[in-house]
Amino acid sequence: MNGSSTDGDFTGRRILVVDDEAPVAEGIAMLLEIEGASVTIVGSAAEALSRVDSGFVPELFIIDLGLPGITGDQLHVLLRERLPDTPIVVSSGYGDRERIEPLLRDPQTRFLQKPYEMSALYQIVGELLRSAEL
């Protein structure tokens, strides 16, 4: 039953999840926490930025594209200004390519189409965290 655990083991890794839908954010957080990650959830881009600006620097961001206020793609730009190399996973229930494609030019950014399975999440997060270590 735990066949995908080889992708996981994020023990002690700091991950910030930005999603305005609490059940979604909490669900993702739970999956990551099962693998040992230390996950912080915020519900808006503004909150994410204020955390970063006040010194909280996660090792990976998971951000929803359709955030209220400052949207996920704007947040991506604002985060990149501050943290040029921190991996970012952008996810969306929408498939709008023209918003996603420019973000994917950044080598440390990946896209996950919602809804995604645990295995896909573990794989992408694992890859990004490993590549950030190199």
Binding site: P23, V24, I34, P115, E117, M118
Partner: protein, 1032 residues
Amino acid sequence: MLNLTAVLAVLTSSPASALDPTRQISQYAIRHWTPDEGLPHTSVTGLAQTADRYLWVGTQEGLARFDGVRFTYFGTETDPAFRSNFILSLLADSGGGLWIGTRGGGLVEMRNGVFRNWGAKEGMPGETIVSLAETSDGAIWAGTLDDGLARIHEGKATTISSKQGLPSGAVRALAAGPAGELWVGFSDAGIVRLEKGSFRHFTEADGLPSRIIRSLHLTEGGVLWIATGDAGIASMTEGVFTPYSSGDLEGASVRAIREDSDGNLWIGTEGKGLARLTGGRLSTYVHVEHAPLTADIWAILEDDEGTLWVGSHGGALTQFRDGKALIYATREGLPHPSATALHADRESGLWVAGFAGLSHFNGSRFESTNTTDDDPIFSLHQDRDGTLWAGSQSGRLIRTAGDGTASVYTSAHGLPSSSIFAVHRDPAGTLWVGTAAGLARMNNGRFTVLKAEDGLGSNVVRFIHGDAQGALWIATDGAGLTRYLNGRFSVWGTAQGFPSDFIRAIHQDDQGVLWIGTGGAGIVRVHDGRFQQFTTRQGLLHDTIYSIVEDPQGNLWCSTGRGIFSVSRAALNQVAAGRMQRVSSTVYARAAGLSTAALEGIGGVQSPAARTTNGRLWFSTAGGVVAIDPSKVQRNPRPPAVHIQEAIVDQSVIPIRNGSLVPPGSRSIEFRFTGISYYAPEGITFRYRLDNFDESWIEAPSRRSAAYTNLPPGEYAFRVIAANADGVWNGDGDVFRFELRPYYYQTIWFRLLLLLLLVAVIWQIMRVRLRLLQAETTARTAVLEESLARAQRMESLGHLASGIAHEFNNTMMSALPWAEALRKQRSEDPLVQKAAGNIREACLRARDITFELLNFAEPRPPAKEPVDLHELVNDQLRMIRPSFGPLYEVIVRRKPGTPPVEADAAQLRQVILNLALNARDAMPEGGIITVGIRLASESEHRLWGLSSDDWVVMSVSDSGRGMSEETKQKIFDPFFTTKSVGEGKGTGLGLSIVHRIIDQHGGRIIVDTDDHGSTFYVLFPTAAHARAGEQS
């Protein structure tokens, strides 16, 4: 032994920064709070500070608690214990309580946030309480205007009135002494000393200047100060009265008198403002010019940080503090209201140029030198021999020799007739003059002018700096920084990649690094031909820098339009080297004592800042000259008090009591908190943290609230800590513990059930919607021409479908991770395994459908390439064949030599998939699916009206029972399906997608059906044919 003074002394045990007696009162940082800021009324009648450090302000319209930022009103509108809103007196007692004397509404006691009224019923002699004191035995004394005095002790009030021998009933003032004695002042009968039930009465006969007493104050040194209603003030030591009624105090009515912790005596008069008595001498007054403070002073209090609070009648609440900066404006003798250029002389004096003249400050006073009439001076320079050069607005350069003789250079000497912004003598001894019309060089008393055409970037020269290498650095307006070296100009403006075209200040440090202050682009570090820019993003206060001076500790001090800031040069170098991201600026603005006008620096002249030999830094501003002594900037050592004031749960306030219960289902909790440091209230910074939720402290630089939503049930502790404006932390802060109760359904089982329900409901809604759409579609089909209708339907349905699909994708995401987490974490429980597995399957199935919907709604143009259809068909069927089960046989036939087609392979796979699925679904009991691949025959060309080019035919046949004519007509309509809803299969989109893909490939699809089954013929142009078509 405690009395009021002693209570204050406890509170003021370590005043952080008392009031410097050497300053003029106008040089204190003075700040007012009026009803615009929340003060209940303009007449402040009483002031007190309780042990929790809150300041309490009594007014004619109620009581306010003040934390330095917010006023919280208490009065008849908030509590029935208040029977009158007119506050007359306040006393903070040694037990943390507050006593409030009102006019006509008795006495109010506040303890632990609860108010209680003391009136006639409780044994009080009157309803108007004008004075309050606490004696060392813990008794509270209340003076009434009507009938004497009440003593409140251990919950009981007893009365002492004229019946017990008081000379009058009108008790106006009280002061408690260290030996347990009480001094009582009467509004018509002098003073009584009350001790252990015995009286001693003092009147004019004893040397008291008046029998009309307004206020009493006993100092720590044992001096009793007496404020009278018609004869100024007097002191009494060991029975001897000494009147102070000279000058303005002669015959004055004094309502408030208080000694501060530095020994200054503060005197609040009626009609004559605030006076200070320092060293036995009445020194300074504040009059109505400080409006909104009026000349009628009613209340004075020193708080525990040593700042002085003054309440005036019809005015405001006013605070006096030692600011970190000192302003010299016209009130302090500056002959002109604003300053332009400054120049430090060699004897710690300062030359100050202004819009109206030139003056010299020798450390105590300004001396005006009226050499320039009405021509403002913009620039100053002093030679080593003491010769002073001043450049004026009209273009006159005034030379004043050490002996005072002046000579003037004008256009007659070759200067341009234009404002002189800069004067500089370079290390080689040449005098340079920067004007609005070029750069002038002096040679034997004559000037030659270099202009833009000579290579100078712009003709407007604001600042000139000569370095040790013989280069001249010139700040220009419009063309950036210009260097003049060996007779040649080099220009660095935005055109050359320099961050700014407007240069305001140039400073060179002892390492030879140039620091350039720009208009709008911050500070630029120039070294070895490289630029490094620092702006507000790196932590500067402002991006327009008027001046840069350096202190001996290596800090750069800059004036701006928002105040003055200092920043460490070493830190800037760290940022330049990439070792740090940001620097921190220390800001000297309003909290440092700058007036509104003094916040606005002056720029564009040489030079608006100077360092005098005594180490003081000077800056010219629109509000005078500002002085800061970096070696004497006081740090406030007292950490702020921290209070969590309120918790707001779903819009209703719950009490702050540790162990509070928050009702189940609460969605949002907001905490409001405050920090108390009256020295610089806005400079307090906070960190908060919700234990059990936040992993680390959250910085809340100045916001005094924190909100959480959707907290899971559990026990929490909300903590706040704070630092004062100088970064001194109160690490204990305040904490609020509470429990968020769970609903029964916040259990894991109920949630699981809910999830199943959710998925089922979503599913049903989707089916119903699709059926409604289908009905609509069918109706419209009958009316509209078929192909047009299809196109329109496809578009509008596309939008709708895409919207629904996206919503579902998001919704699914709130179920799927939970199901997976459950499955992973509860692998030992078979029921959980089955339930979570089913949810997961349902989500994945729903996801597949939404992907299909999205595919339909958002087609992408085919990426065509030559495709071997046979290979693709085999490959695709191999993938899907296993899912068909044993009832079906699949046969692929291909005519040898069939050419490749020009198509998008991925889309063709969808075509094959959907046609195969359709064939399977047409034969619920099983059967044979035949796929054929060949070139179209001659007869087919004729039958289907094909062009003469080669066409490849892919046929997909089933051995079912065929379809009705009606079904055949609608088979490609979106959402048309013959499968029943309950089967949970298909969306009716498969064949629509097939149809559109084939359209996009320029192909055709034809259906043939009879009782023995149906065949779909898909026709594609061959690769060669498609290429030829494109070329023509």
